[in-house]
Subunit: 199 residues, 2 copies
DNA sequence: GTCTATACGCCGATAGAC
DNA sequence: GTCTATCGGCGTATAGAC
């Protein structure tokens, strides 16, 4: 029983190592510049064969990463929506989350924001059809209904708000904005909210 | 004499065919999903060897595209700066240019906005160090000095303004905004300008 | 200067011993 | 279930005939 549990633990640990290594490398060099050899080295596995114990092929590694990231994003957004009523509060917390991720897990944000996922996961739904995105649109719609946000096409509202946020996050990720992320967060929020707020 | 001129003409024509075909394919499928075989087919050349008459290797095709696009962008921006004095006018015309490009040359905009150029041209300067970018920063700085634009870090101003513009252009390119580009242009301009304008 | 043939490396993936 | 050995194929690039 203990032994079995240990095996499971070990298995899932190496799986996580692979995912972590792949995430780091994909974020760093891109999917196509990363070989399975690179991944096995970074994951501390002896041969590429070991990878196939856990994933059907290279694509499935990226696919698992994609799913993981969007799942946890989805959960976070659900949580945020549950804890806050006003759209402005919800969006503020989402911005907070994204800035925190940019500081603490830049690889994740790199994957999300700069990688062109459709290029190596052509089957996957585009970002705009994912659950997190749909929920953000809902938040904006609710904000319009409540009179917090001016009356525009919700997708255009998304573009205005997250256009600013994402661009700033990208500049942070590439090091073009050299001060600490926190310095820019309040300005980013103000500018983005201002771009969609009523009046 | 005439013959020589004709040869030159033909040579540069096939070179253009290659560039045009490559641009289209890169924009469509990405650099790494495009093989020289694909390019030669799309360019109406018989063998991949023909490509090597005009370019040292695959990377140099992308590099030439990159240079061409940034050159013409650079020239356009120079022209715009010459013809307009106020920052608001200059930025307005740049937005106009970008929307026109998105309609008339979506492949170019795809290359500019969504392709991760550093992934296949690691030597090339990042976007933020290119001449067009530097000029845009100058426009923003001038706007701040003239009191048109509120007093912020110019790069942050860039992020606010072009974050909105670029995001909307991306959504147009991917078809997420289904109406005609012109419909969104005025709203995009208003939102973007508002995000950096004084008061 | 254009096509034929081909080299060659790299990488993803598998088969099979232990 | 982990490592050895290896395959097959694609894609870039070249050498050389015409």
């Amino acid at each position: 029983m203990d032994k079995e549990k240990e095996n499971i633990q070990i298995k899932s640990e190496t799986q996580d190592e692979i995912l972590l290594a792949a995430l780091k490398l994909f974020a760093e060099k891109g999917y196509f510049n990363t070989s399975l050899t690179d991944i096995k080295d970074a994951a501390g596995i002896k041969t590429t064969s070991g990878i196939y114990q856990h994933f059907k092929n290279k694509q499935m590694i990226a696919s698992a990463l994609y799913a993981n990231i969007f799942d946890s994003l989805n959960i976070s957004i659900d949580d945020i929506r549950r804890r806050n009523k006003k759209s402005s509060e919800q969006l503020h917390e989402i911005v907070d989350l994204l800035f925190r991720l940019t500081s603490e897990a830049p690889d994740v944000m790199q994957f999300l924001l700069v990688l062109k996922i459709h290029e190596f996961l052509p089957e996957e739904k585009p970002l705009l059809e994912t659950a997190p995105f749909a929920k953000i649109i809902k938040i904006i719609q609710a904000g319009i209904k409540a009179g917090e946000i001016r009356n525009i096409d919700p997708v255009l509202g998304y573009a205005c708000f997250f256009g600013i946020i994402n661009q700033i996050l990208c500049l942070l990720l590439t090091g073009a904005l050299d001060k600490k992320p926190e310095v820019y967060q309040s300005q980013a929020w103000l500018a983005a909210w201002n771009a969609i707020a009523k009046k």
